[in-house]
Symmetry: C2
Subunit: 643 residues, 2 copies
């Protein structure tokens, strides 16, 4: 699409091609570096050896140098004995003596020295050919030999080869100088962010500078970071124009979207030539690039994940080109630091927008031999998901529907020992979260998907969890879990283990400003309620209480609002987005909320027969018995151990 | 095997286990670092968020904040119009206004602003639910939430997450301080190596320090390098004992074998407790380790490749352990920097020694859909092979015979575009070598295996080369190549292309000290001859000349000595190891030898029908026509273009 005089909304492939073609010949100059300081640089010329390596005829073993002809016919049964004038000891690497006509070396284990006073003779058990166990001059490298070509990267092996070959200095491509310019009135420097007692609403930390500089560092490059600029087109224009003069690559953070403060496109057009605006990828759509006086200037979107994918997919290959390096086919994996790719089955359906490539942050687990995966979050602003993910799935623009159970490629960015990772799906509880560091310290891993009690045992039924947890009340008989497990286990022999009882109740703001004293007050119309997702045990309890109190869903304002965890619900109340929520005492306590007790529930682990075969199951069971865990759970409040 | 009071000749797995078990609890202490300077460090404790992220209720889009209830029933056909008091503009990330009861944001594209003088009204085309397009407090991260566990590595994503979460400092495991101590009277510092006009026989460059420091640097670690020590046990003992006090990891280069100057084992035993000596791997056998006052001290063998494999297989995992990191299953690939593994067919038979693991430096090429590989050199001293290799094959100790054609795994350490790599097998000629940089600059690649004329066309016949080159005289009719090609092509339609004629002759030392004037002088008994390998065109020529002169192999001293290339043979003469060799004028000229012309030969490329389909074939053909190549060939001397 060209409407603005330059391509808009191009595919990622097109955007990258435009960018790389534009700057294909914009490598910085070359420079001479000491070989010892050239690691990782790209050679600007071919390198020829200046020396023969070795530069002398050397022994390749420890033993005796002598003329091969003197050993003729030697064997274990018929050793040959030679006179002291004929041989001399050489260590590995020592030059062959030039006297004596020595042209081979007998390994010490093929000889026996006969000491006879001052003289000595040598018994040899193996006949030698001329040159045997001898390293000829230039055997490794000959003077004038081509050692490496222009465009090669200096590796540790090349560097030490150059050294041996007498190459003390090498011409390399200069590294591009790059700068990152954060913009935005709302952006707060890390110094202020860390030191401020209270941060005003609307302000955000300048995390993109830190992320970009860290990524550059992991790629072996330096990235300067400029001061944070206000949303003023003139200020931005001056800074960008200066940077384009002094640097080889300029990254401008944010201002590329269509918000009222997004000045970057205007600034870029004013200063130079726009190359493209908007890339059909999610996140990362507002990425944009321009040529300003011959310098590439890339506008990196402000959302952290959008910033990250723009760095991986556009900045990294450009950096390679500017450094004189080739861009490999799988440059994205290289940029992200992918260790290997795995195929995994999606545990949830995923719809990818039409015509748009999509980046997903994936979590993975292996259950009963099946590799499973699920996206952690689709939000571009959610840094946690990037840090927590095991890898990235890149869904190309022509991929649309990914039904649950379909296979996707996950590019793993960390080493995971999947054989020691347990996947827990089920009822959310902060006490379960406290198990994670304990289990991790024992060398196993524990991944929690707080999907709710019902979804947890359903996942167990589908083989998509090692274990589940539930507190599902059956109002018809007042039992917990039994009837639900019967329904989902399908006759399989699942085990249950009661972990603790916990208190459920109504969480309200401290001081209970809305005056909520009993369940019926939630239907007073004065109160916005925060509910939990369908299938959550807490919601089952809430529905049961509604019925017991003769109320309907519609009587409760906010019935359709959904938090996924107790802490999330508590947080909604704490931050005033909701007035009340049903949840456990520990969550209310954690956020300093008032708590009106409603019920005491059993919280049970549910697992299949195969669970106990898992290498991490004993570590989990030990953690559940550990003093460390029990103490920290009791500290939260609202828990009781089973007697 | 325990004979010395500690295990000797252990397997690599055992050696590593002994080492890692011994120092499993020897991590250095912990330190606090600024989060912004913690990239790559291992966390020494769990990290909890200190902030809600976001810390305020924020708009997730650009649009109008308003109460969701006011949009009830809005649709494209039935827009809802709200009053100016009901809505206000918000940019993405801006806080929701606390007045007006705003609890949702209408995306700008779902609205239309009706300007009416100073007031304005908003038309909304989509009904909203409470909280829609709103980011709740703590949506990304909640205060107190576990962000990372002890033992996690600080990645760019974690680092910026910590920043957002208000974590300004983190406790990390201190990095081990490591030192490399080169030893050996024969070792010359790089300064002296570079500056000396002439290096005495027996001296070698200190390349291992540079290699080790470069590898540490590529792993993100610093390695100090001590001064080079003489082969004096007391000097070494003092240095090692000081280093063990001041450092967390000490590497001593060389001195671990059984040579007369190998003092390290005695020194280690004197100062501390030996852990093992000799590892059943090739190269790398003399690796050795000790615990000296609680500090790991590893003796790294002196041969460059032995040094390299010891660093990869023993030092790297120990470094991880000392840093508080886990050792992954595939730590060797991680250490070497492997990008991916491929399966490839060996083009040569390889015998691996019994009970010993072996490291091979592999070169690979893809011919007609088959991935081929061959080891570059088995020598532990040969640095060139490591720099030139595409990857490493690790043959475990139970693997013995690898017949030609069998499959091995190659761990690729560089990115190779195999679709653009040509494999040339055949007659050696330095002029062919000059094609490499020219072809490389055009984005293709040209790998030369100088196996000789006959082996080259045989490889072409087996589908193990894209092209061959030959100059094979048939003495029966005086023709070149035709009869040989008929034999190997098996009726296939191979093409030939005459590249040049070149002069062959006898190469002797400058001044011709042995007085060689005609072919028969080679059989005078005064002269040591350097021959070429069977199947080399030059050897075929030599055998023919022998016959013509009525001579036998046995008449020529050195007939069984083999050089693989013209330059290698010339080098043997130049360095005095041989008196004469048959070879081309260019090689004699390159090394300043005298040259007695014997024959003028056609040098032809041979290739199959499929060659021209190869993406790099045109680049090769262009290179053969290029002025650049022809000029540099003519400069060498002894070549003539076909007329």
């Amino acid at each position: 699409m060209v409407r603005a005089g330059y391509p808009e909304h191009c595919s990622l492939d097109d955007a990258r091609k435009i960018l790389l073609d534009e700057f294909a010949n914009s490598q910085r100059g070359t420079e001479e570096r000491e070989t010892l300081r050239s690691l990782g640089f790209i050679l600007a010329g071919d390198i020829l050896s200046r020396r023969n390596v070795p530069h002398y005829t050397a022994s390749a073993v420890d033993g005796y140098a002598l003329p091969a002809s003197a050993t003729s016919g030697a064997a274990h049964a018929t050793p040959v004995v030679v006179d002291s004038k004929m041989f001399s000891w050489v260590n590995t690497g020592m030059p062959l003596p030039s006297t004596q006509g020595a042209d081979a070396v007998a390994m010490v284990e093929d000889t026996s020295l006969i000491e006879e006073g001052t003289a000595s003779r040598l018994k040899i058990f193996r006949s030698l050919t001329q040159g045997e166990n001898v390293r000829a001059v230039g055997e490794d490298v000959m003077s004038g030999q081509l050692l490496a070509c222009r465009g090669d990267k200096v590796t540790p092996a090349l560097l030490s080869l150059f050294l041996c070959a007498g190459v003390d200095r090498v011409a390399v491509c200069s590294r591009p100088k790059a700068i990152f310019i954060p913009t935005g009135n709302e952006i707060v420097s890390s110094e202020r962010w860390f030191s401020a007692e209270k941060i005003e609403a609307g302000l955000v930390a300048d995390s993109n500078s830190a992320y970009a500089a860290s990524m550059f560092s992991s790629w072996g490059y330096q990235l300067d970071v400029g001061p944070i600029l206000a949303d003023d087109p003139d200020v931005i224009a001056e800074a960008v124009s200066n940077a384009a003069r002094c640097y080889d690559l300029v990254l401008v953070s944010a201002g590329s979207a269509k918000g009222r403060k997004d000045h970057s496109a205007n600034v870029f057009s004013r200063l130079g030539r726009m190359l493209f605006r908007y890339v059909r990828m999610k996140p990362g759509r507002p990425a944009m690039a321009a040529n300003i006086g011959g310098t590439p200037v890339i506008c990196v979107p402000g959302f952290p994940i959008s910033c990250a994918v723009t760095l991986w997919s556009l900045v990294y290959p450009l950096l390679k080109i500017l450094s004189g390096e080739n861009v490999t086919e799988d440059y994205i994996s290289e940029a992200i630091g992918v260790r290997n790719d795995i195929e995994a089955k999606l545990t949830v359906q995923h719809s990818s927008p039409a015509g748009v490539a999509e980046w997903l942050r994936m979590k993975c687990a292996s259950v009963d031999g099946a590799m499973l995966c699920w996206p952690l979050s689709a939000g571009a602003s959610v840094l946690w998901a990037l840090a927590e993910s095991d890898g990235i799935s890149f869904l190309p623009e022509n991929s649309l529907e990914h039904p649950s159970g379909s296979s996707v490629t996950v590019r793993l960015t960390r080493n995971v020992d999947f054989s020691r990772r347990l996947l827990f799906q089920g009822s959310d509880d902060p006490a379960v979260g406290l198990l994670v560091p304990i289990i991790r310290q024992k060398g196993a891993d524990f991944v929690i998907r707080p999907v709710g009690s019902m979804a947890g045992i359903a996942a167990l039924g589908r083989g998509e969890a090692h274990l589940a947890a539930a507190h599902l009340l059956d109002p018809s008989d007042g039992t917990y879990n039994t009837n639900y497990i019967d329904r989902f286990s399908n006759g399989r022999n699942w085990s249950r283990r009661l972990i603790f009882h916990r208190e459920q109740g109504i969480m309200t703001a401290r001081g209970n400003p809305k005056g909520i004293f009993c369940f019926r007050d939630l239907a007073s119309g004065r109160v916005v309620f925060e509910n939990r997702q369908p299938g959550a045990g807490t919601r089952v309890l809430f529905d049961h209480m509604l019925k017991e109190n003769g109320l309907e869903k519609n009587d409760v304002a906010g019935y359709d609002r959904i938090s996924i965890t107790h802490l999330e619900a508590a947080n909604k109340v704490a931050s005033g987005v909701a007035d009340a929520a049903l949840g456990i005492k520990a969550a209310a306590d954690a956020l300093g909320l008032d708590f009106i007790p409603i019920a005491r529930e059993p919280y049970e682990l549910v697992f299949s027969e195969r669970f106990e075969e898992h290498p991490a199951s004993k570590i989990l069971m030990d953690a559940l018995e550990s003093e460390e865990w029990r103490e920290s759970v009791l500290k939260m409040g609202g828990y009781e151990w089973p007697v």
